[in-house]
Amino acid sequence: MIAFYIFAAAVFFILIWFLVTYNYLVTLRNRVREAWSQIDVQLKRRSSLIPNLVEVVKGYAKHEKSVFEEVTKARTALMDAKKPGEKAVANDMLTGALKSLFAVAEAYPNLKASENFKELQAEVSDTENKVAASRQFYNTNVLDLNNSLQTIPSMWVGSMFGFKNEEFFKASESEKADIKVKF
């Protein structure tokens, strides 16, 4: 009889542990999703600044067509990218394109002096920081989830219910190559 009680108690505790662990994993996964949507918000915000910026620069520097094209292409690539790795690559490309846009702007004193341009430039650089910040938050949450999915005992619950490791927001070498081919 005592053995039965011990057995019943053990089953009970394992069940409770199961529930708690499952709920914890779901919470972690939701946090990752929420953090991902925050990156998306910032990336959209970034993309939406680009047309304005290009217009303003065009007003002063019509002949720098190649730079505008590069920026526009990078923007489109960013908006089309779906997976974290792809987005990270596209985001890096846009950063590079914007760098050359601002470098070009250096040669036009009137453009540099324009209030509108200054404001947009400040906005773009702040948005860049915000993307970096939200990416850091996302990656921390991914680390939390992946840690739980790779350590004993929570990995057992994870694999039983099909939890998957999430992808870091990071530009890997192979993906960089993939995207470059498209241009």
């Binding site: 910032q42 400040a122 702040d126 920081n129 915000k130 910040a133 939200s134 850091q136 938050f137 921390t140």
Partner: protein, 314 residues
């Protein structure tokens, strides 16, 4: 053997140590309350020992819960504190906002204290009702990376719920202090004839407990406060990923000898370093009475995160 004590390691170790301290503190409070409850004797007409313990807990609880609930209003009471809005200082606002995005916290209210001393603090009952205050001195004297490190430290206090923890600690310290005080006062009215010899030993024990317990409780409170500073340092570095920034900031702030006029003993533990400069004690024993760990110990912990110093500490 070069073992790097990373920011992650230090963060977990500081959280663990806080729990250990809190466990023993709770145990200590229970023992003291028990001894003094026996000292008051059973309830004969009056409240009795247990009743008095209850009263002390309620008084300390209500006082601290009120101050905890309105903790973000402290800054409003500081003369010369002005709220910083997005359009008044975009640079500072964006610095705070971006660190909040990185830590997943809502952006707190930001206040500027018009004082040339270099300091900063954070408060608030939860992340949604939090406030962070910077002196105009710290904004002028620190570089961006240093200021970012300081703000990350303050936001970590918010994220780690330090206001809540310190409020809980204050309830325990307050109850012990009240109980001890009640007990020592009650001795004046005790009938000395009724005490037998066996009780005399207990009487001495209870008096010693009543005299020493408030002091011990205060020391534990300060130990918790120092532990949370180390924790905020390591959590802050996890946000900025740049220990050197905080090192430089701490050196600069501590080299600046100007005390912050608006700070007092009640709010000292909130600041990034002790604002009551000149009163900071040195040495092991005197160190027990500090709200903040000594700057060299904090710098050393930060250097360990960079892998520069390999001796284990903190």
């Amino acid at each position: 053997m070069a073992t790097v004590n990373t920011a992650w390691d230090q963060r977990s170790s500081n959280i663990f140590k806080t729990w250990v301290i809190m466990f023993f503190f709770t145990l200590f409070t229970i023992v003291v309350a028990y001894v003094l409850a026996l000292g008051f004797g059973p309830a004969d007409g009056g409240f009795g020992g247990v009743g008095i313990v209850g009263i002390a807990l309620i008084i300390a609880g209500v006082m601290n819960i009120v101050s905890y609930y309105y903790s973000d209003k402290i800054v409003l009471g500081i003369s010369g504190a002005k709220e910083l809005k997005h359009n008044t200082n975009k640079e500072i606002y964006h610095l705070v906002e971006n660190l909040c995005i990185a830590s997943g916290l809502p952006t707190p209210k930001i206040y500027i204290i018009d004082d040339s001393a270099t300091n900063a603090f954070a408060t608030g009952r939860d992340p949604k009702h939090s406030a962070i205050a910077l002196t105009s001195g710290i904004i002028d004297k620190l570089h961006k990376a240093e200021l970012e490190a300081v703000i990350a430290h303050e936001l970590s206090h918010i994220g780690n719920r330090d206001t809540l923890l310190m409020a809980v600690v204050a309830v325990l310290v307050g109850s012990i202090a009240l109980l001890a005080d009640f007990y020592l006062r009650s001795l004046w009215f005790k009938d000395s004839d009724s005490d037998s010899k066996g009780n005399a030993i207990f009487l001495i024990l209870a008096i010693v407990a009543a005299v020493l317990a408030p002091l011990v409780a205060t020391l534990i409170q300060l130990a918790v406060s120092r532990r949370r500073e180390f924790l905020a340092d390591s959590s802050g570095v996890l946000l900025t990923r740049y220990p050197k920034g905080l090192e430089d900031a701490l050196l600069k702030i501590s080299a600046d000898k100007e005390p912050l006029e608006v700070a007092n003993r009640g709010t000292a533990h909130l600041y990034i370093i002790n604002p009551l400069k000149g009163q900071q004690a040195v040495g092991w024993f005197a160190g027990l009475f500090n709200t903040h760990p000594p700057i060299p110990a904090r710098i050393k912990a930060l250097q360990e995160m960079e892998g520069l110093s390999t001796e284990a500490s903190a």
